[in-house]
Amino acid sequence: MSDYIERPRYQCALGGALVTITTLDRFIPIVHSAPGCASSAEGAASTGSGYWGSTYCNGRATPSTNTLEKEIIFGGEERLKEQIESTLSMIDGDLFAVITGCMTDIIGDDVRGVVNEFKNAGKPVIVAETGGFKGNSSKGYDYILEAIFTQYTEKGLEKNPKLVNLFGLIPTQDVFWRGNLIELKRLLNELGLEVNTFFTPSDIVEDLRTASKAALNIVFSDVHGIAAAKVFEETHGTPFISVPLPIGPTATKEFLEEVGKKFEICSNKVQELIQKENTWYYSYVQNVGDIYNDIDLQRHAIIVGDSNYSFALTRFAVEELGWIPAYVAVTDILDVDEKENVKSRFDIIPKDLRPNIIFETNTSEIVSSILDDLKSTDNVYGDLPIAPAFVLGSTLDRTLAVEVNAGFLSVSYPVTNRVVTDQGYAGYKGGLRLTTDIFSVLLGNR
């Protein structure tokens, strides 16, 4: 630790792994940690992701060894063994994953040894060491995926040249992961590809077992899921590409063309799909063009989000809404290389529209650095130099919106002022929904 964090915009590694598991029906977590770890992580993820709530076996149903002082002194392996045995008879599941917390990682329980006993007896149990001090949800997502790919996903299956796996959208951390995955799958299906999304309500555990058949892994992130995709490639020989989350027609066109090239799909087919989707998209957008102009819905944008959303939303604001991005805060905890990767994405934004990029996770620091900068800027509008403004961020950033007198829509984690179910912002459908949601906010008081 080098500095404090305010109200984290993510969970710990254990939390990231836990929500990734419990997103999927019949995939059962066995948390080997203190009694409060799972509920703290799930409570935050559940409310922070637009009230995701309870699934097949999460929340109060999450099996957890609830280790206490006794286990710290005498070790927790026996307790874990007992808990795995009882969970297997209590819970009707297809796959069980032991994930560990800080305390069991520090005391050094041989969890792999314990789990191996069950594996050797033919039980569907895997294990990942996910002590919370090892990193945030992003790391936890990678750890559990690596565990799945190396311990569960079948090796040596024949490749299906049309099958792709989608990764990089961490359940709940991407508040709209379900809707996003559904739209991305729809588009890729239209190109003639078969798609594993893994983490929507219609997915089944079996898809993870046969995921090694895929010809390509697409990681919709520069950060989340990259390490896991590398492990996948080493283990199963499937290469991966890392692409930004495409929101709206321009970004999605580019995405479809890239995938088309990768799979050597006839370019006419790709262009036909793009044409069809564009027609659909603009058949609605042309109608809202009236109100967009009549009351001038152009805004100066401030965007706050993780590495996936900060860029994707900025691009959407520039290319689709005709807005002027003023500031972008990237809220992930990133190393130097990851920061460079994320930053370089913004190179495609025309120079005169390129925003100030801040790497900062603390809400109040984001507010003060933007306000300080605004104070030092010439004020040509008589109000704030960026009036009228709009903040696309998390619910935490509503205070910033109030400070700069801006409209506000919560998109990035945590989103606590909306209920999110099947909404998504990816692709064409998502782009239209985002336009609709943003304009609805601006007209909300009419």
């Binding site: 203190a34 770890c37 060894t65 280790t67 002082e69 917390g101 945030n136």
Partner: protein
Amino acid sequence: MSNKNLDVKMEVEFMTINLNNSSVETRENRLGSIAGYNGDLNDLANQVKCGTLKDRERCFTQSSSCDAGCALGQLASITDVAVINHAPSGCTGMASQTIVNHTQLAAKRGVPYTTVFLGTDMNEQDTVFGATESLKEIIIKTYQRYKPNAIFIGTSCVSGIIGEDVDSIVDELKDEIPVPIAAVHCEGFKSKVWATGFDASDHAILTSIVKLPKKKNNIINFKNFNESARKEIIKIFANFGVKPFFLYANTTVEELTHLSEALATVSICGTLGTYLGNGLEEKYGVPYVKSINPLGVVGFETWLREIGSVINKPEDIENYIEKERAIYLPKIEEVKKELKGLRAVLGMGASYAFQVTRVLQELGIEVVWVASWHFDSKYDNGEIPPHLDYLVENSPNNFKVSVTDQQNFEILNILNKYKPDIYFGRHPGTTVWAIKQGTAALFLGDEFKTFGYRGTLDFAQTILDTIKNRSFEKNLAARITLPYTQWWYKQDSSSLLKGVVE
């Protein structure tokens, strides 16, 4: 107050509160609290009286809560402090929701809320090299940046296991930082009874905030969560010439320094109030009202009379009771007719589980099973919780009791077997499982839901509403699958309890 001498004697004998230690003793050690039991009301009461009540562990457990959530959540509800959680980032994941809740409570009252909830983001390196120096810097920086009126530093599993000496850091910084600063020892592995976290927050307040009384005032300290009956209680207390001071939500550090000057302390919840109430009584002679809680008619009247005797205004109390009875009792009798024949199961904290049971029985509802998240064999005054004695004497049936820390598998097994008309819970994420299984459920998140005559009537009507239209849970239950095996539903709900813990 005729038995004051006796009280003092008992306190010496049963002293559980030690304000010279920096950390609070766990409820298991202080109050003989347990988290695993299966039996019934009379057996539980007998075992408590005979001192034979022993905790039992389980061979299968589900996620619960920890001390830190309770302790730091309570402290963060004060409006002008900094809470620093010396922990990995995930442990501070709750901060966002906590701050949202408290900001809204403050907005409702129209008071400023400037509290910050920070985490030190401990990482793998810190587990090897320690992090006390960084913690020190963070505390200083937090003071300079936010200028809070007090700083509380919470400990965690990680800081506890690697042996971070937070007390020394606090001592070192006391000269440097001009506001109260306290370590709050709430390691998540410390106690199986997470209500120990409430005690940890009270301990921090008693040891670092409360000052010696300068002059007595006409205030009654009122320990609660959300102040939702604030206006109503101000009005009630005005009849007796006293004012309530609700804590900790929406209080300032300055206000809390005066807790020692109050006429008395009361608490909406026995679990929540025992440490602060008894602590203020032991250290400053502020009487703690230890009667059953003001839920339901009997609870409210017993509690008011106890307050009346403490503030020496028994007649005012009787006049008030007579007046209010005339307004509300006929209405309550009326609604009781509609509730007759209903059967209920409850799953709640150690005080509410039994207090709400009493209210339901007053309303003529049959309570078939009480699941208590933990059980305190005594409170910090050395006495058995009064609600247990009350039920032993007054309950129409010897209902089943289990002590089970939010263990969902046991609750669903019980609901499946007893098929009650309604399930009552008070903890987020608990009642949803009842409706997923098709049992109507009422979430009593508002601690004042059954407060006094008006609250009891309101509660009765809400129960009627809950069972009136059950389409939501009926549809849901018919279309989703629950995770438990058929094998489990055939077992007795207590079958995964192991032998007693010595």
